[in-house]
Homo-oligomer: 489 residues x 2
């Protein structure tokens, strides 16, 4: 097994990864709240953990990857005031909340499929675990770290903090936190201003509510993740992930809940993905600089000159390490698209390279570097740099400037298979477009034959016609020593 | 609004459809049990209700379509003995039950997508409604029609039958039912042999269990549908559907539960789809004559000579009315594929028909016949016959044997759009294969141009080469008065 190092938010250090019960790995990632279209920042988080899931699996771990769907209980703001977001939208549009949930869950899955994310092992829903959430709240009350007031159950942060490090995940000081937190209207029942709700009393008009020993209500947001991670991965598991915006409140409270419930901090490694910016500015709806995945694909947005394929966007995201800010711009996407197409063209070229008796390049060492990059906290940008070194070698061998043995050619194919396709989860655009794609390959062979013939016959009218029509069809032809190759834009 | 007639299993009559609260329609269909690959019979049922959903929507109803996912509680056999099917498989494969659920739910969705089924409005799960199921069981006990024995809650069928018609749905005689039902081991707690479980006590080793007022347990199979239909559609709604094998037990018990719970029979119209046969024999695993959807698509089955596209299979299924037995054979599939391709080719031809000052055909009457077919209990085979009449007119107009005004040409396009695409849910095979498909269209224009030129120049070497290569690419060219058209096989 590879020696893998992971940056752990909890210790603020890169640490060697030791699975609790190798080769099994339990990984929990906070999933989407399905009351609106999934935004690009979420896509980046889930794509990052998709690569982590893929790499762990590739190096031999058996990963149980749980990513939840929040279909209830997520309040506006983290302060537990206001209405449940899903119910609110339901009232406005006269829909049943679960209709909204279905609409955006289907949309979420479509986007995940387009981005070629593997489905997680389990995708549990908050509404599917109401009983489990009630049981945890009950146990925390029994353990003296929560209290119920008028049908709402609060977690007692200050009492918890007396015997535990409440802010372990972020390293912030509790005093400062207390000073910077305001008392909020409608929260007069709370004993301390940092206390948060485990279970919330429902007003009669609230659309999503369930019976409980504290009366009709619905779960707080944080408790669903404690309930679902514990149920499917146990009280202690290996990796917990999410966007870095979740660390200060949601994940901090999740850890507190788990300790208060069973005395154990849930995960050994906490991993957080960084945020998105657009030309250096925070991506936000109010700034008008945020785009939805579907707008990226169609190009239907004023900041975009054209649409980008899901694979080009995936490649673009992989070019930045998951812990760094990812900056979007039309120019950067264009550059990524070109680089991605070149990388994929290299794979085609690789299929008909001619082997030599000896190699002038060390492909084995290159493969090692790819593993080393991924072992260093899943460093995809460094991995991509090595893959472009592989591409340079392939093109150089194609131009007869480099020699490769058949074994090394096969190893290059393996590197592509493992790192480009399996680990980074990229795929050629044509894949899946079976019939039309296959027919196009064959028809293009015919067209390129006729072009060669026309050129040989000095029939320039025909060869010009072919060039123009192919260009109109978005097909670029490139002449090489081994004959012409082509790509679709 | 169209006058629609629906065959109602409950009354054994075709009745005019009257929505309780038009234009709203509530429709509930029993969905898949996700512990194995979805079988073709289920696909047929869901496809039939997809067409019903599409047609109701097309004629102006606002349909809330609920199709559940059974992810717990479905026992082996309907007799409530044996283990929960999902837990059993989990123990064998050392998987968490919800991992099995996820695997087969994802597979189910993939097949539904390939068959171009619209997602239902809500897809609730059994595990997501444990509390609701417990509440219904509790209420039925309070109403005196269920009893709990040692942690299991049974529905008292004979007591219910004293004041209600238990077998209303099938019209069977209760006495015969009693005579033909055996007492089963492990069911000694039941008062009557027809009694069925609403809640089942769990053995400690049972993997899926929840706390309840009767102790740890899990819900019976039938109660989930009562809980979910009531929650999302109310105590009385319009249409309840499923495979006809569900009528005698599952649906009969569901009706009894609802009446015992709230005094109301849930649905006004009960619709049941018929079974599949293969060359006249019942499709079954043990006879070796059953195939999975994916085997149909790949052709990887000894009874199949080739693979069939999802749309060809969908068309094939539509050729039989949903209440008739659907007989599968390789020959019938081949014939359906050809017919489907001809129908789709007609749509292409339609795009470049030349209009005349008058029409020699009555297209308006033809459109009326399409509606009449669907209004007659969703009679898709009759609809298809009318669509082939439309095809005949299109081809005849293309051959200048029939004249059509521009208005009638547009109306034919509307008929295709409404009935072929919107209502029957068919689509051209190339759709979705965007890039390669679009490029292929353009490259084919070039190739057909060059073919015309070669023929004009009597350059038969070239025109033969084009013919051979296109045939190799699976492309069939057909010459017509308006120029050549082509299709991919």
């Amino acid at each position: 097994m590879e020696r893998l190092f992971i940056y752990n938010t909890l210790t603020r250090n890169k640490e060697e990864f030791k699975a609790i019960n190798a080769p099994h790995v339990g990984m929990y990632v906070c999933g989407p709240t399905v009351y609106s279209d999934v935004h690009l920042g979420n896509c980046r988080t889930f794509m990052s953990f998709d690569v982590i899931y893929r790499y762990l699996t590739h190096i031999g771990y058996k990963v149980r990857y749980v990513r939840n769907i929040t279909d209830a209980g997520h309040l506006e703001g983290d302060a537990d005031v206001g209405e449940d977001k899903i119910s609110k939208k339901a009232k406005l549009s006269q829909l049943e909340p679960m209709e909204i949930v279905q609409k955006y869950t289907v949309g979420f899955r479509d986007v995940m499929n387009l981005f070629n994310l593997l489905p997680p092992s389990i995708e549990p829903t908050a509404t599917g675990h109401i009983i489990e959430q009630q049981q945890i709240a009950k146990k925390i009350i029994e353990n003296g770290l929560a209290y119920d007031v008028n049908g709402t159950v609060y977690f007692d942060v200050e009492k918890f903090a007396k015997s535990h490090n409440y802010t372990a995940l972020t390293g912030r000081k509790l005093d400062e936190l207390l000073e910077n937190t305001r008392d909020l209207d409608g929260q007069e029942d709370k004993r301390g201003r940092l206390d948060f709700a485990l279970w919330i009393k429902a007003k009669p008009e609230h659309l999503m509510q369930w019976p409980s020993q504290w009366g009709q209500g619905f779960p707080g947001w944080h408790i669903e993740c404690s309930a679902m991670s514990t149920k499917y991965l146990g009280e202690q598991f290996d990796i917990h992930g999410g966007g870095m915006d979740l660390a200060p409140t949601h994940h901090t409270n999740e850890i507190a809940q788990n300790i208060a419930y069973c005395g154990k901090s849930p995960a050994n490694y906490w991993m957080h993905t960084n945020m998105l910016t657009v030309k250096g500015q925070k991506m936000s709806k109010s700034l008008g600089n945020s785009f939805l995945p579907m707008e990226l694909f169609s190009g239907d947005h004023e900041l975009l000159s054209k649409g980008y394929s899901p694979m080009a966007v995936r490649f673009f995201m992989m070019q930045t390490h998951y812990r760094s800010t990812l900056d979007f711009s039309d120019e950067a996407l264009q550059a990524a698209e070109k680089a991605f197409n070149r990388l994929m063209e290299g794979y085609k070229t690789l299929q008909h390279l001619q082997s030599s008796a000896s190699s002038s390049e060390d492909i084995k060492a290159l493969e090692r570097k790819c593993y080393d990059a991924m072992n260093d906290d899943f460093n995809t940008p460094v991995l991509i740099a090595h893959l472009f070194e592989a591409l340079r070698i392939i093109n150089s061998a194609n131009d007869k400037k480099t020699t490769l043995t058949q074994v090394d050619i096969e190893l290059l194919k393996t590197i592509y298979k493992h790192f480009v396709f399996d680990v980074m989860g990229l795929k050629t655009e044509e894949e899946g477009n079976n019939k039309a794609g296959t027919a196009l390959e064959k028809v293009m062979n015919l067209v390129l034959d006729m072009r060669t013939k026309a050129k040989a016959n000095k029939d320039f009218a025909t060869s010009d016609q072919i060039r123009d029509k192919l260009s109109e069809a978005g097909i670029q032809v490139k002449d090489g020593k081994e004959g012409a190759t082509w790509t679709i834009n």
